[in-house]
């Protein structure tokens, strides 16, 4: 009889339903975005005035907008932009946030200054300042990425720092000190890996926040500008068409909800999977 190893990583992954469901959803979304040239034969920015405001049909799965543009194509195009922004924000906040948190953990005097700066940055209203920064950086895709990165770095630093402070007190770190391992090496090789689970979970949720924030900023007309489509500005266009062509609202809106849901499920699942306290006997609370 084949024995099932309940501690194997695959067994645990497949027994975390939210992680499985979230990953499947995300894989479907990402593959749809990548297969866009195969899935649709339309151009996201080509106006077709013979096909204005058509309801969903065989030719136009999600219908068309007021310029006769195919909504399915536009939602996929917009998704590429929205997901790209989310992913870039995650990558940059992770790199910058980790560096700052490590510097603070390493030089204790610097830590005081860093935390004061982070506190001041957190005093700003997140979305509002992100919108202003997006305008400062010129209402472009990279501008939105920069704006959201600046806004979210303090959050990453805070969470990472508290994890680092806890791990720094562990016996094995003390042991490493005692045998003369260089502090910087202890920081990067012994403490940082311990903080990884916290960081991974945090950044997954941040991915979801970033997508929501980008959509919000673009929705009010400050973020990603036409001709680039993003889920936010497609929805923004749809508000004026509400009474005549409500399908314009559903496609981009549902795309946001499903993507954010997928990321939240993955985040929940990862937290369950990576939290050592929840592994044994899986406290069903």
């Amino acid at each position: 009889m084949k024995q099932v190893n309940e501690n194997s990583i695959w067994f645990r992954i497949f027994h975390t339903p939210s992680l499985v469901v979230g990953s499947i959803l995300l894989i479907i979304i990402v593959s749809a975005l990548m297969l866009q040239p195969v899935l649709t034969q339309y151009d996201a920015n080509r106006n077709d005035f013979a096909a204005v405001l058509q309801p969903p049909s065989k030719e136009h799965w999600f219908g068309t907008d007021s310029f006769g543009r195919d909504l399915f194509t536009r939602v996929l195009e917009g998704g590429k932009v929205s997901l790209r922004i989310g992913a870039e924000v995650v990558v940059y906040t992770t790199i910058i946030g980790t560096l700052i948190a490590l510097l603070g953990g390493y030089y204790e005097k610097l830590d005081v200054i860093i935390m004061r700066v982070m506190d001041v940055m957190m005093a700003f209203p997140t979305l509002l300042i992100a919108m202003v920064l997006a305008a400062v950086f010129g209402n472009s895709i990279s501008g939105v990425v920069m704006a959201l990165t600046i806004v979210y770095v303090p959050r990453t630093v805070r969470i990472l720092r508290s994890a680092i402070l806890t791990i720094r007190e562990e016996v094995y770190v003390e042991a490493a000190h005692a045998i003369g391992v260089r502090p910087w090496k202890i920081m990067s090789l012994h403490i940082l890996p311990g903080a990884m689970p916290v960081l991974i979970v945090q950044e997954t949720f941040l991915f979801a926040y970033a997508i929501l924030a980008e959509a919000g900023i673009s929705f009010v007309g400050v973020g990603v500008q036409p001709p680039f489509a993003s889920w936010g500005n497609i929805l923004s266009d749809a508000t004026t068409l509400m009474s005549v062509a409500p399908w314009n609202v559903f496609a981009p809106g549902l795309a946001i909800v499903i993507t954010v849901l997928a990321l939240n499920l993955i985040g929940d699942g990862l937290r369950e999977l990576l939290d050592p306290k929840r592994q044994k006997g899986k406290a069903r609370s």
């Binding site: 001041v120 700003f124 209203p125 007309g221 609202v249 954010v260 609370s285």
Partner: protein, 315 residues
């Protein structure tokens, strides 16, 4: 306690000053020249004069100093385009934003907290799973999408509520409520989801503690155990939660205001960014940041009062 409050207030002053400087520098580095917007492209000769009248001459540091000393005297400057002082423009629109955020918060708490309690009573039951699922979905739905759906159903299809606009409360509570309910409900829903999840996990944590077991063992009725023993403790983090959510709501109101055409500070800041009306953008940002700092302080103090464990300034 008093010393703690004074200390916190003293720390707040330099923080606010730094925040004000950052706001001014960031906003004024926006590309685009408001003087050109005022003057139009034709009248090149008057350009310098207009710049001077708008206070745009001099280095950025001189302008920062002038603005900051004005702010310290309670003068936020004049709008470039509105023909009004910044404070005047904000004062006129502030009631709208406060109405929206406060009503939304009331919706969020009155819907979210009971749902969280109900879900926690029978963990992993069908009811709990449904509530948890719906609140997860609520958290993933941006307010502008939820709002559009509500608008589609309640304003366009059934015509229960107007689809946008605002009436001040001075025109009667009924009128005011008719216009504010839909936006506030929309805006409150995602935060209701947050409260439901927060209360549920707090309740579950408290219900697993020894003093609950003791209360049950004493033969206390389960209603009393839940309401008196568990809920009291589970509500504690909600105090912080309410403060935090309110600050988020003040700062994020601009999206809902834009969707429902509510003429509040959020819509004002969006329009002011588009026109490069820097003094107005600075003024709104500064006021909301100050409000956030004050609310956070108030929450910390309140928390210290409620929870004896966090009473600072040791006796």
């Amino acid at each position: 306690m008093t010393r703690y409050i004074i200390k916190r207030l003293l720390i707040m002053i330099p923080t606010l000053l730094i925040v004000a400087c950052v706001i001014f520098l960031v906003v004024n580095s926006m590309p685009g020249d408001p003087a050109l917007t005022v003057i139009g492209p034709e009248f090149e000769g008057d350009y310098e004069m207009v710049r001077e009248r708008m206070g745009l001459n001099g280095t950025i540091w001189e302008r920062l100093w002038k603005w900051l000393s004005g702010v310290l005297r309670g003068d936020l400057g004049n709008s470039y385009f509105l023909g009004d002082t910044v404070w005047g423009a904000i004062k006129q629109r502030l009631p709208v934003t406060l109405s929206l955020a406060t009503t939304a918060l009331i919706f969020a708490v009155t819907i979210g907290v009971p749902l969280g309690i109900i879900a926690s009573l029978k963990p992993n039951s069908a009811l709990d799973t449904t509530i948890s699922g719906v609140s997860l979905l609520g958290m993933c739905t941006p307010e502008f999408f939820g709002g559009l759906i509500f608008m589609l159903l309640l304003s366009i299809k059934w015509k229960v509520f107007p689809s946008g606009g605002y009436r001040p409360i001075s025109e009667g509570f009924g009128e005011w409520a008719k216009y504010i309910i839909l936006p506030a409900f929309t805006y409150g829903m995602s935060q209701a989801a947050y409260f439901a999840r927060l209360i549920r996990s707090n309740m579950l944590e408290v219900m697993n503690q020894d003093f609950i077991t003791t209360a049950v063992a004493k033969g206390q009725r389960s209603f009393v155990v839940v309401m008196k023993h568990a809920l009291r403790n589970a509500l504690l983090p909600v105090v912080t939660g309410i403060g935090m959510v309110y600050t988020i709501m003040l700062g994020g109101a601009f999206i809902t205001e834009s969707l429902f055409r509510l003429p509040g500070t959020g819509l004002l800041i969006i329009n002011s960014i588009a026109k490069r009306d820097f003094p107005v953008v600075c003024g709104i940002l500064l006021l909301i940041s100050a409000a956030i700092l004050i609310i956070n302080l108030a929450v910390d103090i309140l928390y210290a009062f409620i929870d004896p464990r966090v009473r600072f300034g040791k006796k």
